[in-house]
């Protein structure tokens, strides 16, 4: 593969992860924080950026751990445990570092980090990387794309829910009910993209 076509391949993976194979709306990963932290656009953006950041970095760390530890010892089946440990440790470390060196960033992003440790989209992205046999560059493109896709979905949801504050919703549907219906409609729209791009 020439350099040019490799770059194109990475761009395809990036956009596929954002739109056609959106980790949240097509794979339904990371739903809990998507439903609970999507009341305001401002907080959704903060959480979204935190996910983009953590996902991109943990996917590269997990790639190294998989390629240089799990594969040589033939213990790929330990990837679930190892990936979780790495994600948790990375998030902890980043939280400490941000709090120390950038209080402003901590205000806007750091307070969301503990929410992310248990976000299944982060672990899911690393596991997809293994299933699809990505190399490092592909993994990073996929992680970045998945993060941006997740952020896109939660910010859109927060925007809709802010508007919903002024809408008259039947009592039984208020709160989680209408939120799940909206998530379903958004997922339908995103599934419409399926097949336009292939991330494989």
């Amino acid at each position: 593969m020439s350099f040019g076509s490799h770059m194109l391949h990475l761009v395809v993976i990036l956009f596929a992860a954002i739109f056609t194979d959106n980790i949240l709306l097509a794979r339904f990963l990371g739903m809990c924080s998507f439903l609970s932290v999507s009341r305001q656009v401002k907080t959704a953006v903060g959480l979204g950026f935190a996910v983009v950041f953590v996902m991109t970095f943990t996917i590269s760390l997990d790639w190294f751990a998989y390629r240089y530890v799990l594969q040589p010892y033939g213990i790929e089946y330990f990837r679930f445990i190892l990936f979780i440990i790495i994600i948790a440790a990375f998030v902890q470390f980043i939280e400490m570092a941000i709090e120390r060196y950038s209080p402003v960033l901590y205000q806007n992003l750091g307070i969301f980090l503990p929410l992310i440790t248990v976000n299944c989209a982060i672990l899911g992205a690393s596991l997809f990387m293994v299933i699809r046999d990505y190399d490092l560059a592909e993994g990073i493109a996929f992680g970045l794309g998945s993060g941006i896709g997740w952020m896109l979905a939660i910010v859109a949801m927060a925007g809709i829910r802010e508007r919903l504050n002024n809408a008259r919703i039947p009592k039984g549907l208020q709160g989680p009910g209408i939120t799940l219906i909206i998530a379903g409609l958004m997922a339908l729209a995103f599934i419409g993209f399926t097949g336009v791009l292939s991330s494989r």
């Binding site: 751990a65 530890v69 010892y73 213990i75 330990f78 445990i81 190892l82 440990i85 790495i86 440790a89 902890q92 470390f93 400490m96 570092a97 709090e99 120390r100 209080p103 205000q107 307070i111």
Partner: protein, 370 residues
């Protein structure tokens, strides 16, 4: 054999390495060195180790900010004004702040981490708060659920407090509680006694501190307290006074009445004491005694649910209604000051009655037991 030893060693090894990195990072990264805390514009300057919360750091420096939840950010009591160095309001603080407090820079001291030099402002009386080691040398049963504890301060220290204020009692770890908790109780004793204080405590079922005081504390045991706290005290005017209290709410008012007697304060005053049944009545003799010593003081116990056949000659009904009837007969109601102490429900009802009768809210002072 090796088939499971190797994988387990590898995975545990990686886990151990990551844990070591985190421990090391915590040592290096969260080491903020010494920071300076300036209290009340230079009144007091502390140099303390950074990294902890403002509340816990002040506590180690023997400055006690009132807090009921122990720094978990759930009670919203530990508010202090931070004029410099705290950064923007955290999402964990927002629910406890109204618009005015936000504007003034009021913060929850348990949520603020000491990362850099801070300038804070706290009520001056908090600086006089100290910790005292006492012995409990008398326990009196007043009713089936109310006891009085007399605590004598050791080390010859004197406790300076304003009548009406309260102290926090430390309940140590014991059988039924594995954490130390502080609970607040009003001082009820005669302020002329500088060596000891008395607390009147009503048993709370399953209360950590009251269970400790009622079932575990013995005469002669050591008790740790800190204080005094509170802004519930008799204002220095000559206005007539209406006291309303329920149950153990009598404590701070008893202390104020002793103080009035000591200072030959001849203010007109009346005390409506609300209780449920005759079994709940206590301190009647002491109040009668105070009636003879204070020329213009009157004590009115009010029973809400008299037992059939009980020999009760006094007032019956809700304490607020009896107080209302009294106020309606006074032609100088507007001059009265109201002092209330008891449960939140009783206080809210009393405030409503007093304002309805024409006492403005700025002349109603209260201490809510919750």
């Amino acid at each position: 054999m090796a088939s499971f030893v190797v994988p387990i060693t590898v995975i545990s090894g990686i886990g151990a390495i990551l844990a070591a990195v985190l421990v090391f990072a915590e040592r290096v990264i969260t080491n903020y060195g010494d920071v300076q805390v300036d209290i009340n514009q230079g009144d007091k300057k502390l140099t303390v180790r950074g990294g902890g919360s403002l509340l816990e750091t002040l506590t180690t420096q023997k400055i006690f900010i009132p807090s009921a939840c122990g720094g978990r950010g759930t009670c919203g009591y530990c508010k202090v004004k931070v004029s410099e160095g705290a950064g923007p309001l955290l999402p964990t603080e927002e629910p406890y702040m109204d618009a005015q407090e936000r504007g003034e820079g009021i913060r929850l001291s348990c949520q603020i981490k000491l990362r850099n030099d801070l300038k804070i402002e706290i009520p001056a009386e908090l600086l006089t708060i100290k910790e005292y080691l006492c012995t409990c040398d008398e326990i009196i049963d007043y009713t089936y659920d109310i006891k009085q504890f007399r605590l004598t301060v050791l080390d010859g220290q004197l406790m300076k407090y304003t009548p009406g204020q309260y102290v926090q009692v430390l309940a140590p770890q014991y059988d039924k509680s594995n954490e130390e908790v502080y609970r607040a109780y009003s001082i009820s004793s005669d302020p002329a006694d500088k060596r000891a204080i008395e607390l009147i405590v009503r048993r709370v079922s399953d209360g950590i501190c009251t269970t400790y005081l009622f079932d575990y504390l013995k005469k002669g045991d050591k008790v740790r307290i800190n204080g005094p706290y509170g802004r519930f005290y008799l204002r220095d005017t000559s206005a007539p006074v209406i006291f309303i209290a329920g149950g153990s709410g009598i404590a701070p008012i008893k202390c104020m009445l002793h103080d009035m007697k000591n200072n030959n304060n001849a203010r007109k005053s009346i005390f409506f004491f609300g209780i449920r049944t005759t079994k709940d009545l206590f301190l009647e003799q002491e109040m009668k005694q105070l009636e003879t010593e204070l020329p213009k003081f009157k004590f009115v116990p009010v029973i809400s649910q008299p037992e059939p056949g009980a020999p009760w000659q006094g007032a019956v009904g809700r304490v607020t209604n009896v107080a209302e009837d009294y106020l309606k007969q006074q032609d100088d109601v507007g001059n009265y000051e109201g002092y209330l102490c008891g449960s939140p429900g009783m206080i809210d009802a009393s405030v409503e009655i007093l304002t309805k009768c024409g006492i403005t809210e700025d002349k109603i002072y209260y201490d809510k037991f919750s």
